[in-house]
């Protein structure tokens, strides 16, 4: 039976949360040995992705990303921050910021698997569609 990346991720998560303090390093080392024995080292990228997802879910962490054309003013950032905290339902929000000149203006906010696309580029594309009819 093939072991999926998700199952590896779950196993790793459980053993890591069982282990305390300095033992985590040991667990990770053992996990890598198991992977090697099973010839699954190539799956490592996927497993890390899965592990991160499980970790975030269990610890109630949402990953959020703000993409803007220019550096945002501190006030705007605060407003967005509040919005994200509200949507996260009391959980922790891990925020990353990115600057992308290609979106021309506005912001794109991603959190969890939700997206709020308020970029000028998307607006223009929608407008073009509406006019083109």
């Amino acid at each position: 039976m093939k072991i999926t990346a998700k199952q590896y991720g779950e196993a790793l998560f459980e053993s890591v949360s069982d282990a305390s303090g300095g033992k985590v390093k040991e667990v990770v080392k053992n996990f890598c040995r198991v992977l090697k024995a099973n010839n699954q080292v190539s799956q490592l990228g996927k497993i890390i992705g899965q592990f991160e997802q499980i970790w975030n879910k269990k610890n109630n962490i949402t990953k959020a990303e703000i993409i803007s054309a220019l550096k945002l003013a501190p006030e705007t950032e605060k407003v967005i921050g509040r919005y994200l905290v509200k949507t996260a339902n009391g959980g922790e929000v891990k925020l990353s910021k990115q600057i992308d000149k290609n979106i021309l203006g506005g912001v794109i906010i991603k959190h969890g698997d939700r997206i709020l696309d308020e970029s000028l580029r998307t607006r223009l594309a929608e407008f073009k569609n509406a006019i083109g009819r």
Binding site: K6, K110, G112, D113, R114, I115, L116, D117, E118, R123, E126, F127, A130, I131, R133
Partner: protein
């Protein structure tokens, strides 16, 4: 000049003020796997069944439809070109069901299942779009089938009549004239207040091109739309083609018009759905088709309907085609579709190679509702024809054993042979119903009994010409009133007798009084 400029500006202003940007959170996911027209997407936690997806790709977007909902991923079919979608691409759920453009603009055009023009006559400027999947009208909206679809094919109009709103399957092996029947039917719809939609599923594009050229030549493209998903198109496009065609038909239905839709053919449609299903890792069943192939076709054909006056009174008549392998009607897909439709026209290769074209097997072909829709005149003559055809088939098998037959039997056999001859018809020459009534009348009244079998077709053609010359109102009258009165019968008998007096090839030894 200035005025038009102002007008344009005004129009633009209107459009701009009417444009509402929709801000709002959407769900997004990422492509984890892609290939063969199928994509697997992670994320999209609240994606819905048959929801449309937008794949963000370099320089634009591609569209897909959700077909599988799994624990932590979504299986989707990609519509159109899938080659530029990569692993890791962003996917946005659009919160709406797949729609195709519909409207009067589509008439006379060749489009793909997404409503893009394929005929090089410029973009379609449609204003409306209809969902591809729609629940069929219910009992309240419907009414029984009561108007005829004149196919112009003698064998069908007489023995297997089709009504508006019926679903009649055309089934047979490859290359024995299934498409020919469908195309002849379209050609004969000229002036019958009927819109036609021809859905080509997995056909060679050269074949579709020649069909379109044919239809154009006979002036049939004026009321016809061709929806084409060719053999080189990916399976998802083939899969949605009939539904898209049906959505286009429903636009005319809602306007209260009658529509004829031809699905050519549903075997290839089932195969494309099998391909999609297997790629989505749905478990295979009989002949490797997924468990829901029956529903695949039943939900499509159930959308054919005849609506009552309160709902506009329109109709959709569906003619699905099924290709059998070596005449095997007991395969999975043929039995399914036979059980869904209101009858079938069964074409047989033996008959085709014997020269009986159209190669309709009158014994196995049935129409379960259409005979209610025949015009009265046709009912009068066709009822007798059906009976005589059945008797002939029985006797024909029996007569092979011995040559010593009584007079009555011999006469029936002779009549039957002439009937077979009358039912032969060339391609692209559909016959108006009035003319059909006349020739059938001549047959059942025994006027053909002393015409040599090999002369029957000549007789038929020149008789119709003669009737046209002598009394051109007669045919018109029959077509107008739909009836064949006693007086008209008498008139017709006299005309046929007069005509026969001019012939020199009649078999004199068995002159019959009629």
């Amino acid at each position: 000049m200035n005025k038009t400029k102002d007008f344009i500006v005004e129009q633009l202003k209107e459009q701009i003020s009417g444009f509402k940007a929709e801000a709002g959170e959407k769900t997004f996911g990422r492509v984890t796997e892609v290939g063969d027209g199928i994509a697997r997407v992670s994320g999209l936690s609240d994606a819905m069944m048959s929801e449309m997806l937008e794949f963000k790709i370099a320089g634009g977007s591609a569209f897909g439809v959700v077909l599988n909902l799994e624990e932590d991923s979504v299986g989707a079919i990609i519509l159109g070109d899938a080659s530029s979608i990569k692993e890791g691409d962003e996917v946005i759920a659009l919160k709406r069901i797949l729609e195709v453009p519909v409207g009067d603009e589509l008439v006379g055009r060749v489009v793909n299942p997404l409503g893009k023009a394929l005929d090089g006559k410029g973009d379609l400027k449609t204003k409306k779009s209809y969902p591809v999947e729609k629940i069929a009208p219910g009992v309240i909206a419907r009414e029984s089938v009561k108007q005829p679809v004149q196919t112009g094919i003698k064998a069908i109009d007489a023995m297997i009549p089709i009504g508006r709103g019926q679903r009649e399957l055309i089934i047979g092996d490859r290359q024995i004239g299934k498409t020919a029947i469908a195309i002849d039917t379209i050609i004969n719809q000229k002036g019958q207040r009927m819109k036609c939609i021809y859905v080509a599923i997995g056909q060679k594009e050269s074949k579709v091109a020649s069909i379109v050229a044919r239809l154009e030549k006979f002036g049939a493209m004026k009321y016809t739309t061709v929806v084409m998903a060719g053999a080189s198109d990916p399976a998802p496009l083939l899969y949605i083609a009939p539904y898209a065609g049906c959505a286009m038909a429903e636009y005319f239905l809602d306007k209260g018009e009658d529509v004829l839709i031809i699905y050519d053919d549903l075997s290839k449609h089932a195969v494309s759905y099998r391909e999609v299903s297997l790629l989505l890792r749905r478990p295979p069943g009989r002949e490797a088709f997924p468990g829901d192939v029956f529903y695949l076709h039943s939900r499509l054909l159930e959308r054919a309907c005849k609506l009552n006056k309160d709902y506009g009174g329109g109709s959709i008549t569906a003619l699905p085609l099924i290709e059998t392998q070596a005449g095997d009607v007991s395969a999975y897909i043929p039995t399914n579709v036979i059980s869904i439709t209101d009858g079938q026209i069964y074409l047989e290769s033996d008959l085709f190679y014997k020269g009986n074209r159209p190669a309709i097997n009158a014994g196995l072909s049935v129409s379960r509702v259409g005979n209610k829709a025949q015009i009265k005149a046709m009912k009068k003559v066709a009822g007798r024809m059906r009976l005589e055809a059945a008797q002939y088939r029985e006797l024909e098998a029996f007569a092979q054993f011995g040559s010593d037959l009584d007079k009555e039997t011999r006469e029936k056999l002779e009549r039957g042979r002439r009937m077979i001859e009358v039912l032969k018809q060339d391609q692209y020459v559909p016959m108006p119903v009035g003319q059909q009534v006349i020739i059938f009348f001549a047959l059942i009244s025994g006027f053909l009994d002393n015409v040599p079998v090999e002369k029957v077709r000549d007789f038929e053609a020149s008789l119709l010409e003669y009737v046209q010359d002598v009394n051109s109102d007669l045919i018109k009258e029959i077509e107008k009133t739909g009836e064949l009165t006693e007086a008209e019968e008498k008139k017709l008998q006299k005309i046929i007798k007069d005509y026969k007096d001019t012939l020199d090839y009649l078999e004199s030894d068995k002159v019959k009084s009629s």
